[in-house]
């Protein structure tokens, strides 16, 4: 029976030191990395036959839509559920995302994604949940152009790949641009656009992006993040000019 070797970077808790463990997994047809981790979890035995604790990891939908299983697979930020084991020849290295505080093994604390969305006011202020009686008209062309920016699953892969996301910067990652692009293009979101752009012009905003464009190449949803950054940098600049002349 064919097997795959999986090398996992483990760490019992945030204060502890990391260590590596090697696992040998029997291949199943079309096996994903997430499934391989599950197999290890069911029978946590290292390749040299030692019992160990099950590998802690996150996963939910297993369809690439919830973003829970983002991790470093052979050094690249990817979703474990949508990465096939037989894509790789040698052993597969799994590490937790390094830009987020570690919880345990492959689990990290991604609450700063939610905090960044809250800081940038990524919502449309509503009058209430009642039926207002009219659906905002949204041009087909604009909706089709913007649709892809609504697809962000907040997995954190873009943050991981970004050299600007680090302990010294307030920048959380390019996902924020995707959310804001979608909101700003929306007919109701347009009304709350300017305050959002003003926030984006401040600390941790568009100016923090140095244009490495790594985010776009790792985004599991294929969101054109580089285009989003360029567009928003332009809009932030326009907005500050507008504010200067019109208040």
């Amino acid at each position: 029976m064919e097997t795959a070797l999986i090398k996992v970077k483990r760490q019992d808790d945030p204060e502890d030191l990391p260590y590596w463990e090697l696992f040998e997994v029997q291949l199943e047809p079309g096996m994903s990395v997430a499934r391989a981790i599950e197999v290890v979890r069911e029978n946590p035995m290292t390749a040299d036959g030692n019992r160990t604790a099950p590998v802690a990891h996150e996963c939910s939908c297993m369809e690439g839509l919830c973003g829970a299983c983002a991790m470093l697979i052979n050094g690249k930020a990817r979703l474990a559920c949508s990465t096939l084991v037989d894509e790789f020849d040698g052993p597969i290295t799994l590490e937790p995302l390094a830009k987020f505080p570690l919880v345990r093994d492959l689990c990290v604390d991604r609450s700063r994604i939610m905090e960044a969305l809250a800081r940038s006011e990524c919502w449309i202020p509503l009058d209430g949940l009642h039926v207002a009686g009219c659906i905002p008209v949204y041009s087909q062309r604009e909706q089709m152009k913007t649709s892809v920016f609504s697809d962000c699953i907040s997995c954190g892969c873009c943050s991981e790949a970004c050299p600007q996301v680090n302990g010294r910067s307030a920048f959380a990652g390019a996902f924020i641009f995707s959310h804001i692009m979608a909101l700003n293009a929306h007919p109701l979101g347009l009304q709350s656009r300017d305050p959002r752009l003003a926030l984006l012009g401040g600390r941790g905003g568009v100016a923090d992006c140095a244009g490495a464009e790594n985010c776009e190449s790792v985004c599991p949803r294929g969101i054109p993040l580089a285009a989003a950054v360029a567009r928003l940098q332009w809009e932030v600049a326009l907005n500050s000019i507008r504010r200067y002349f019109w208040g």
Partner: protein, 579 residues
């Protein structure tokens, strides 16, 4: 804080839970939202298909009444008519609300919401947002939750698992006990009312296309504490799943309505089974009927008695440029299979469990039989009857969540069960009970493996409550469940860590799976007819005289107690479900 604003705990931050929280906040409540992970990771993300509403932007004369009639018929008349009508009447308003929240629904040339065709509906009724409506709906709702949190009306607690209810001497629900999945702290939380929106139980079965967490643990916990479960025997399967990267994945059915076809390979040629059996109504066939027809064909077309033929969904005849938008969710679901180009070659499909129709028993206002306990979304049994119509899942979650949230907040004041009047003795006793459970799990000894037992239980359920049910098989399954249960008591906790131990919650959820599995099988055995997804070849007909009733199961130490006395209230004529 405002004067005596009622305190509501919502369990689960999916489409239903976030809708419930927002509705409760609008009624003046302050809400604590418990969730396993951040709001946008919920299982609702998987609902690529869209949301059904009789908006009639295509000018076909669609009405909410037609939406309701088709929903009832698809569900084989096992849902109360008034409640289904209430949901379908509210549907256009809900789509409007989502659009106002920022969901980028596909648009027509005029900029109105473009409606897609969907299985089971005679009119265009599916509002869709790009390739993943579920993701967009969750993002929009999460935005509103963050907004409410910034105004200190909602407190989100991601990384906390609901364990059990706090029930007082009068039998009312006064809060929940939850566990922090990182530092493993067990904490009792008092509330005026609790709303369970933690999803259904499809992942209890081995062949499911749901989130791995949808194992019904929250339903089972409430059930064990006295909450009634309705229609547990109704498990939704669909023929349209693909095996992608070792996980079954639901394919959006709208691709078929938009011009795709389904066929079974026979003698090297496509056999269009549904068209042959159901003629012009082939696009309307509910999921359960389509699954049984296709899987009979798969057996019939096999070359040898013990092999089976393959079934395919085929969209290769669609114009590739138009298809990119028409069947965007379908292409998205196929995306994981790097080697597969759905526009060029047919996609091999498998039957899988998509969802469950059963759930906590609730009244018209989503209140359970336990005072102070509400449920919505996949955790409640309310709108789908015996089979779910595409597009109604998201709708029912959001509508049900809003009804539950509003009603829980409005009645909290009158109930006389304010959160701050919960005695610390009651809270500590509830916490102590859960600490005992943890100690009990930690003390389990033996050589059994809980994960493998979980898988065996899932396979057992597939064998017994799958496409066809047989009373003899079901009886045997009950014995088998007891056997697996006693084997589980010899399974050791594989991880002793006191930080971020995922095995302990898993073992606790496993303990409860047996109760729920027993209930599903016992109810399947009890209902001696065929209705929707519940099909007994020995009794192939629907029996309205005897079985037009809601199954109601309650827990007892000697096994589930079933009650079939609640008649389904429907004034419309019950049509034969022939297509």
């Amino acid at each position: 804080m405002h004067k005596a604003s009622p305190k509501i705990i919502v369990v689960g931050a999916g489409a239903a839970g976030m809708s419930a929280a927002l509705a409760a906040v609008e009624e003046g409540a302050s809400v604590t939202l418990l969730s396993l992970a951040e709001p946008f990771r919920a299982s609702s993300a998987r609902l690529r298909e869209g949301i059904a509403a009789a908006l009639d932007t295509a000018g076909e004369g669609d009405t909410a009444a037609m939406h309701a009639a088709e929903t009832l018929r698809c569900g084989d008349y096992l849902a109360h008519e008034k409640r289904v009508k209430g949901m379908c009447d509210a549907a256009p308003g809900i789509v409007e609300l989502l659009a106002r929240m920022g969901v980028g629904f596909d648009r027509t040339a005029e900029g109105a919401i473009r409606l897609g065709k969907c299985g089971g509906a005679t009119k265009r009724r599916l509002a869709r947002a790009g390739r993943s409506t579920g993701v967009q709906v969750l993002t929009a709702l999460a935005g509103q939750i963050l907004h409410a949190q910034s105004a200190e009306r909602v407190h989100v607690m991601p990384g906390w698992e609901f364990i059990s209810l706090i029930i007082d001497d009068s039998g009312a629900c006064r809060g929940v006990v939850a566990q922090n999945l990182r530092n493993m702290e067990i904490r009792p939380l008092a509330a005026d009312a609790v709303i369970i929106c933690a999803g259904g139980y499809p992942a209890l079965l081995a062949k499911h296309a749901a989130s791995v967490e949808s194992d019904g643990a929250a339903i089972a916990a409430c059930y064990a504490q006295g909450a009634a479960v309705a229609n547990p025997e109704f498990v939704q399967f669909s023929p349209y799943a693909i095996d992608a990267a070792g996980k079954l994945r639901a394919l959006p059915e709208s691709s078929l309505a938009e011009g795709g076809s389904v066929w079974v390979e026979r003698d090297g040629r496509p056999w269009h089974v549904l068209e042959e059996f159901f003629h012009e109504s082939s696009g309307l066939v509910p999921r359960d009927i389509a699954t049984r027809a296709l899987w009979k064909a798969v057996r019939d077309a096999a070359l040898t008695p013990d092999s089976r033929a393959n079934a395919f969904v085929d969209i290769t005849q669609l114009d590739p440029d138009a298809a990119a938008q028409l069947v965007a969710p379908f292409l998205d679901a196929c995306d994981a299979l790097a080697e597969l180009d759905a526009l060029r070659e047919p996609v091999r499909i498998e039957p899988a469990v998509f969802a469950t129709m059963g759930g906590l028993w609730v009244d018209a206002r989503h209140a359970s039989n336990i005072p102070g306990l509400f449920a919505a979304g996949g955790s409640a049994c309310q709108y789908h009857g015996a089979c779910i119509m595409a597009g109604n899942e998201l709708l029912a979650s959001i509508y049900g969540g809003m009804v539950a949230g509003r009603y829980a907040a409005c009645t909290a004041e009158r109930s006389g069960r304010a959160a701050d009047s919960v005695s610390s003795d009651l809270m500590n006793a509830a916490k102590g009970r859960e600490e005992d459970v943890v100690a009990h799990i930690a003390a389990q000894e033996g050589s059994e493996n809980a994960h493998l037992i979980g898988r065996e239980l899932g396979e057992l359920l597939v064998e017994s409550v799958w496409l066809e049910k047989d009373n003899a098989v079901l009886k045997k399954a009950l014995e088998k469940i007891d056997e697996l249960g006693s084997r589980f008591s010899k399974a050791q906790l594989p991880d002793r860590a006191e930080w971020a131990n995922a095995e302990l919650p898993f073992m606790r959820r496993m303990r409860r799976r047996f109760d729920l599995a027993r209930l599903i099988v016992a109810a399947s055995l009890g209902r001696d007819e065929s209705r929707g997804a519940h099909f007994k070849p020995a009794l192939p007909l629907r029996d309205d005289a005897k079985w037009h009733c809601i199954t109601r199961g309650t827990w007892s130490a000697s096994g589930p107690v079933l009650d079939f006395s609640e008649r389904v209230e429907i004034e419309a004529e019950l049509q034969k479900r022939e297509y």
